[in-house]
């Protein structure tokens, strides 16, 4: 490639160093980490560099871009090339998560840290197998032990969860209230049967798990 003067990249070594780091890394790199590695004066300077690189990739029609995910930055191919890249990886298959697994994962994501009993109280079914799958896929992990009988394990999502879902952070997920509002088409009860969820914290007693 010939000397570019209008990309704002060539001589500015921070851009090129950031590019090299993103190229070499197999995990998203946080701006602060990139700053520390490159010796950039600030994270903000790194963000500028990332911005310049993204624009350059877009304008020069690359097949990849920089995405913000799991609190960091990462080079990925563009979605429109999913077909051709999939052909490269054909056969090395990793299944999508099943709906029960996604349900359980959603509960952990919104209610973490949470015990198996509490998850089962919400889903109404045994969740042993699903939790094992999610741990095996490294999207959740045991993050501690709860109070109460037997000091149950508590589960939380991992950084890999954000990465797997392509989320920047938890702010990327719709709030529980927002999810509730999606069902606003339901006829409202004349007199609310269930008091509006004001203090839904699950401190204190765990929700009773039995259906009786």
């Amino acid at each position: 490639m010939d000397e570019n003067t209008d990309t704002g990249i060539d001589d500015r070594s921070i851009e090129r160093e950031v590019e090299a780091l993103l190229f070499a890394s197999d995990i998203p790199l946080a701006a602060a980490k990139l700053a520390a590695l490159t010796g950039a004066p600030s994270s903000r300077r790194v963000l500028e560099a990332i911005g310049a690189l993204s624009r350059f990739y877009g304008e020069s029609g690359r097949g990849f871009t920089i995405v913000e995910v799991a609190g960091g930055y990462q080079l990925t191919t563009l979605p429109e090339f999913s077909g051709v890249v999939s052909r490269l990886f054909k056969g090395r298959k990793k299944a999508k998560l099943t709906l029960p697994a996604l349900e359980t994962l959603a509960i952990v994501a919104y209610k973490q840290p949470i015990s198996r009993m509490q998850i089962e109280a919400i889903r109404g079914v045994n969740c042993d197998g699903v939790l094992a799958t999610l741990i095996e896929r490294e999207v959740i992990s045991i993050s501690g032990r709860g109070e109460g009988i037997g000091k149950p394990y508590l589960y939380s999502t991992t950084k890999k969860f954000l990465e797997y879902m392509g989320l920047k952070d938890f702010g990327d997920l719709p709030s529980l209230d927002e999810l509730e509002r999606r069902f606003a088409f339901d006829a409202e009860p004349s007199k609310p049967l269930v008091p509006p969820p004001g203090n839904q914290s699950d401190d204190g007693g765990a929700p009773d798990a039995d259906g009786q």
């Binding site: 990886f89 990793k94 919104y110 889903r123 879902m165 392509g166």
Partner: protein, 247 residues
């Protein structure tokens, strides 16, 4: 002849109730408890008839529904309405809570889908290629509903056939494999053509479930209540956007 088909990750009783509520366009805040109990028990019955492993939670819920139903029948004390809780309250609260997370799960599914279209620089575990993205995979309930209509059809025809009782799930699986070796897709109902005996239909159905479990079959439909198509996973097949050439 006892076959146990264990579905790897079974949705639970709340899921079934939400399915019924959606299907019958029921107001979740005012559930007609006798109707829903009847429908719910109907499902449990057919699952048992198929010797599917019905998780204990389903029976607990059945008991809960029947308890609520009987409480609704009790005369209410005049003048105490304020105090008296609706016996459905706890169930409704559970359903609303569960429904939120079900919605969250769908949101995650679409995030997952998007993310699987892009590949990080070092793809240690590259996402898989999925079968053609037409329609959606059907749930066990959709399959059970389709089975119910197969039963309805034979009842209407009222023909009695004697079948040798040696038909096994394995043989049916072989037959379905043979069909899919010739064609890339097959209509769910097609597999029951010429079957009039309940046991034979059940064996075919179990064979389908077993193959889905083994990952040899994918069941998809364009919309609820549309025809269900069965595919070999990974085969580049699609359903035409209008649904299907019904026949």
């Amino acid at each position: 002849m006892t076959y146990q088909v264990r579905l790897v990750q079974f949705e639970g009783p709340l899921d079934l109730l939400l399915h019924l509520i959606r299907r019958d366009k029921i107001n979740i805040y005012d559930i007609p408890i006798s109707h829903i109990t009847r429908e719910y028990l109907g499902y449990i019955e057919i699952m048992q008839e198929l010797e599917l492993e019905v998780a204990g939670e389903f029976f607990v819920m059945a008991a809960t529904l029947m308890r609520i139903k009987s409480q609704m029948l009790l005369p209410r004390h005049e003048g105490f309405e304020e105090e008296e809780a609706d016996p459905r309250e706890e169930l409704v609260r559970n359903l609303l809570e569960y429904r939120k997370f079900k919605e969250a799960a769908h949101h995650l599914a679409s995030k997952e889908e998007d993310r699987r279209k892009v590949f990080p620089r070092t793809a240690a575990t590259p996402p898989a290629e999925e079968p053609a993205d037409e329609g959606f995979e059907v749930s066990l309930y959709d399959l059970l509903e389709a089975l119910q209509s197969v039963f309805k059809n034979i009842n209407q025809q009222a023909v009695y056939h004697v079948v040798p009782d040696s038909v096994t799930v394995e043989q049916k699986i072989e037959a379905i494999r043979a069909t899919l070796a010739r064609r890339s897709e097959v209509l769910f109902t097609e597999l029951f053509i010429g079957e009039f005996a309940k046991i034979e239909i059940i064996v075919t159905f179990l064979a389908i479930l077993e193959m889905i479990k083994l990952g040899e079959l994918v069941a998809r439909q364009m919309s609820h209540a549309a025809d269900i198509w069965l595919y070999k996973p990974g085969v580049d097949s699609y359903i035409d956007a209008n649904g299907s050439p019904n026949g």
